[in-house]
């Protein structure tokens, strides 16, 4: 048996019955990392000593019959989520040597469940990007075709799961950074409702949009990770007070009486024909499973989503990234004439091109004379986008769309054309603007490359999304296909 290929729920059964140990499971993943990570480059840091120590502790817990479904299961954490004592770089030169003195809430919660942490996942610098080519260290590669991008910005986390290096991973999603790489690599990725999962310890990019969520091999695993990380956190003032349900309760393979809408604006101009066909065929499958489908839904403000997003997110980023002044932590330019000179040189040498682009864009949108025309206008358009979702969810339990207009593109293809790169997230951005939850589930292949289906729900309707995705997954076998590495 190839242990690293197991899902969480399969491994948890074997651990519970003492047929395998967490140390064996962890060693299998570490061996897999040794074997394939030279090709896919998923990891910024491999924390093998910590992982083996946590695995031993987990085995002790399991031997006493004390464990949860995540006890002893190896995971990867995106490198913008703080891990005490383990380097957290945001794939930036700015934080290359930063060792957090505390754990993010999600890490504390997973540790309490007995997580084994294999390491930190590569990403676009400060989570800004759609391909993981903007990592200051190296690009990650798509395991289905090593010449292509894995998507971004949680590319490393996603690849570690798709390439069977880890059982699951955490990513963060500001405009699609969990769902788009999940779609590009054929795994399950969920961006929860804004506020459902604590952001305490997540390095801030655009605070009103950022949300942490799971990347898993199947929908059952997604529910298990959500059970562990969701819920109110007094340390995050935007955390929702609503107690989370047991998400595994929504895993029923039946869609009768569920109403699903297909917004036509998500089949954007320029979408690859094969992708549109694959998604339409997946939606037809949902109808066969009992769902009522309305193919003629319209959300007209969707076409403004990209522009509104790329005003709002960089504006918040320009404020959040002002803290990297080279004084308290992070990179510091040592040869400088004055305090201001030191600050400018620190940012010039510490930040990569995409981060600079967004700081400049945000500074422009917030500057005197342009605030009303750009930032305020974008915030008003945000209201319109949210209202359209609210109206749609009066009629539908969920909306179904493609996750991306294309299959994974070639490494280098879009890296010098920021607008083209931004367009890869056109189907995912409106969801963050509205703060609603959405999930990507494997929905087929076009010429050997994965296609993801997006399921969008009203606030706090993660259970409905999991139910739709689970029923679809049980009726198809896309999620069982593994890349040849």
């Amino acid at each position: 048996m190839d242990l690293c290929r197991l899902t969480i729920h399969e491994a948890a059964q074997l651990l519970k019955r003492h047929e395998i140990s967490s140390v064996e499971l962890t060693q299998a993943c570490l061996d897999r990392i040794k074997k394939v990570d030279d090709k896919v480059r998923a990891f910024v840091t491999v924390s093998d000593a910590l992982a083996l120590q946590q695995a031993k502790e987990a085995d002790q817990r399991l031997s006493q019959g004390d464990g949860s479904p995540l006890t002893g299961i190896p995971a990867v954490i995106k490198d913008n989520i703080c891990t005490k004592g383990i380097r957290t770089t945001c794939s930036s030169k700015m934080l290359e040597n930063f060792i957090p003195p505390y754990n993010a809430t999600v890490v504390m919660r997973l540790n309490a469940c007995g997580m084994v942490m294999l390491g930190k996942g590569n990403m676009d610098e400060f989570a800004m990007g759609s391909s993981t080519e903007h990592s200051a260290f190296f690009p990650s590669h798509n395991p289905w075709d090593l010449t292509r991008v894995p998507g971004g910005s949680s590319g490393g986390s996603t690849v570690s799961v798709a390439a069977d290096e880890a059982m699951y991973a955490l990513g963060s999603d500001t405009g699609g950074s969990i769902r788009q790489p999940a779609g590009f690599c054929s795994v399950v990725g969920l961006k929860p409702t804004y506020g459902r999962v604590s952001r305490y310890g997540l390095v801030a990019f655009a605070s009103s949009l950022d949300q942490i969520g799971p990347l898993t091999k199947d929908v059952t695993d997604c529910a298990l990770v959500m059970n562990a990380i969701s819920g109110h956190d007094p340390r995050d003032s935007t955390s929702l007070p609503h107690p989370p349900p047991d998400y595994t309760g929504s895993l029923i393979p039946d869609l009768r009486r569920l109403r699903l809408g297909v917004p036509r604006e998500y089949f954007v101009e320029g979408m690859q024909k094969g992708v549109a066909e694959a998604i339409r065929s997946a939606i037809t499958k949902l109808a066969e499973l009992g769902a009522e489908i309305d193919w003629e839904v319209s959300l007209p403000s969707t076409r403004y989503g990209l522009a509104a997003y790329y005003i709002i997110a960089p504006s918040e980023a320009s404020a959040n990234l002002a803290r990297y002044d080279g004084v308290k932590y992070g990179f510091s330019a040592r040869v400088a004439e004055s305090m201001w000179d030191a600050m400018e040189k620190t940012k010039q040498q510490g930040f990569g091109p995409e981060v600079k682009r967004r700081i400049m864009l945000g500074t422009y949108a917030l500057s005197a004379g342009y605030y009303d025309a750009y930032y305020l206008k974008a915030q008003k358009v945000r209201t319109l986008i949210r209202r359209e979702f609210d109206q749609a969810f009066e009629k539908f339990d969920a909306l179904v769309t493609p996750i991306s207009p294309t299959v994974p593109f070639k490494i280098g293809e879009k890296v010098d054309d920021p607008l083209q790169m931004y367009l890869s997230d056109v189907c995912t951005l409106p969801i963050n603007i509205a703060g609603v939850p959405a999930l990507s589930v494997p929905a087929g292949f076009v010429e050997g490359l994965p296609v993801g289906m997006q399921i969008i729900g009203k606030p706090l309707s993660e259970e409905a999304l999991l139910r739709v995705a689970f029923a679809y997954e049980q009726a198809t076998d896309w999620h069982k296909r593994r890349p040849a590495l």
């Binding site: 505390y102 940012k347 209201t383």
Partner: protein, 95 residues
């Protein structure tokens, strides 16, 4: 919206972001192109539409004013690029 080199340099100054001449030119072109595409927002009628800053209705969150433990100074200063004893060392702010 075409940006001039001077405008790009002014924005960089506002953000305290150092840029070399090549970066100024590249950003001038790229930002101009992006902003031109974002003109589409001006087509939207937003009369009487209130802005949304956050997708959830935020309320002030208050807690009892009780002192709790904080991180030890050594842990906080462990990541400092430049320290002296228990202080961050900074350049002179006033000349």
């Amino acid at each position: 919206m075409k940006l001039s080199r001077e405008e790009v340099k002014h924005l960089a100054l506002l953000a305290r972001l150092g840029l070399d001449e090549d970066e100024v030119e590249r950003l001038r072109e790229q930002l101009s192109n992006i902003l031109e595409n974002f003109e589409i927002l001006q087509q939207v009628d937003t009369t009487d539409v209130p802005p949304t800053a956050h997708s959830i209705a935020l309320e002030n969150v208050l807690r009892e004013d009780e002192a709790g433990p904080s991180l030890p100074a050594d842990q906080i200063l462990a990541n400092a690029p430049n320290r002296e004893d228990d202080f961050f060392k900074v350049r002179a702010v006033l000349e």
